[in-house]
Subunit: 399 residues, 2 copies
Amino acid sequence: MPKLSQKAIDMPASPIRKLVPYAETAKAKGKIVYHLNIGQPDIETPEVALNAIKNMDRKVIEYSHSAGFESYRNGLSAYYLKTGINVNPEDILITTGGSEALIFGFMVTCDPGDEVIIPEPFYANYNGFAVMAGLNVVPVTSTIETGFALPPVEEIEKKITSKTKAIVICNPGNPTGYLYSKEELEQLRAIVLKHDLILFADEVYREFCYDGAIPFSVMNLEGLEQNVIMIDSVSKRYSMCGARIGALITKNKEIMAAALKFGQARLSPPTIDQIASEAALNTPQSYFDNVVAEYVQRRNIMIEGLNKIPGVFCPKPSGAFYCVAKFPVDDAEKFCQWLLEDFEFEGQTVMMAPANGFYSTKGAGQQEARIAYVLNQDSLRKAVICLEEALKVYPGRTI
Amino acid sequence: MPKLSQKAIDMPASPIRKLVPYAETAKAKGKIVYHLNIGQPDIETPEVALNAIKNMDRKVIEYSHSAGFESYRNGLSAYYLKTGINVNPEDILITTGGSEALIFGFMVTCDPGDEVIIPEPFYANYNGFAVMAGLNVVPVTSTIETGFALPPVEEIEKKITSKTKAIVICNPGNPTGYLYSKEELEQLRAIVLKHDLILFADEVYREFCYDGAIPFSVMNLEGLEQNVIMIDSVSKRYSMCGARIGALITKNKEIMAAALKFGQARLSPPTIDQIASEAALNTPQSYFDNVVAEYVQRRNIMIEGLNKIPGVFCPKPSGAFYCVAKFPVDDAEKFCQWLLEDFEFEGQTVMMAPANGFYSTKGAGQQEARIAYVLNQDSLRKAVICLEEALKVYPGRTI
């Protein structure tokens, strides 16, 4: 019997899927489960994208260029320039989801054993990509009390060793919804330049910024052009997670040339999905206005509802469609499992993602859970009521 | 300026794309270029697959299960069982192309620094996947004189060290078109079992077998169930290379569980393309009969035409849609470049892939080139005439 590799052993199971069997049992028993655990929006994909697929007149579904269709790269560059982000077509490699962009980015710039610093809590799959590339994740803890702002730069700089190759941020952030200010990004620029690192910025939630907040892209950090890799994706912007179309964006020509060799090895990103993504560039502004208005409502219902529950604290995020809340419980993972296994209110319960899966530091975030407010407003209101009722009776309640 | 990783340096450029700039210049000058260099068939994608895309009635393009849609895995299993290949739904992980299947397979079973033995010439992108996983490719040379049959097992066994983890074959083979016999596969079984290795078999050309030859799948090698990973893809079978839907197939439950963790990290294979692939399972047998009949004609035109040219030798392949031919030239790469840069016959020329990119051993295959007979019969006839005329005047001709 052949042995598995060390990477197979190190690869973490997905924290958002850990509780899936309990949810399935709950549903089999007839409970309604409000899925706040996963970032699969219910928002419809723009019609222009769906129509492009329906009207596709190709007779052969051929490979595209390994960097993606030229017409799509041109269109994407125009989208960035319109959005005020300095990206030209030659700065773009179309990838199979943002996932592949980050995997390629890691492999092209970091050697096995190198370290990448990531403010925690962070998107758990960064761990998986780091395992694939053989990298060690070094967390810097941000706290719920500050709303998950960037930790003080001294804290970040303390973590830098001779092995440090990169800093990874997600802005606006999954799982926190925190939107980094220009000042915070400029602080990052200073340490990235000082230590000649790479700054990876996952900006896939760019369109989801609230209360007039305007996201600042790392591509606009002057003087950092050679040290920045931006990760993008159509998944959230156009609610087409299943299209698996992302992009690696950089002005560093050496990195781009090397990433293209990785892209050539896997031939091309999916063709039909690129056609849909290119068409999605023509999505009318009203679509985004409606989506943002809807998410603001959902966020407000969720955040206000949570903070009204005695002992619960949830900072109000400015972006994305997640929040991390702190619950008055012994252990959020136990609480989340208990919600599925042992609790129901009027036949309903809630599924959340325990936040420990988003922290790399052992024991961190033990009372926290990530909530994706991707359901309709009525469901969210009911979910909040469930949580309130649950906390009245949860045996591991701490206050 | 941050330094690139060792992997970025080691990643080979695609050998089939090396000459692309010369082809573009040739076309800009008005030459007709017959593209025999790349395995992008001109065969139409089955209508059932195209119609499934057009008739898709989803409003949201959501993620699928990380292992692929259950309905698709069930359907795929039924296809295998009908084809006489022992594969159940739980043995299947749907991947983004065969490429991702092999990358996951390598990462799950091999550690960086491990060795994988591959009979050469082999599909050049195996080098790229090995670089991604940090593996060393150890070639065993097969020869054009035997039609690229499996090298003697003693030759393979000589290459086995304490670092050897796997043997990789492609059957029927790209670039050779060679179809391994059951006896050859049983020889491989013996050494794989003896040394407890993994046998990777890329069987994506299964449907393309000629003259009554029946491919034998590694999944049917009795007693080897725990040591086999089969790689599959819809790219060639249904002429939908751009769909990027493949599969990792194994009965080894540990390997499957680990591969699924890798799959979860990248979330899911593309959704629309899985819908097309599932529909493609209903492609009528007449489609394949027509395609195979067409490829037999094409192969015959190409092989007979090549072997009639003085000094050219090309074994007759039993499968896939490639052949490797030996030319009476100093250096096939120079010859291929010269064909594009300096030659034309009645305004036409030919693009082939120099075979050196398919060998790992330095200097091997220097007089050989890979030809993909994926063009219509008329174009192939003209391409053969071009080659004949070219060899009359090529300055580096050796006989």
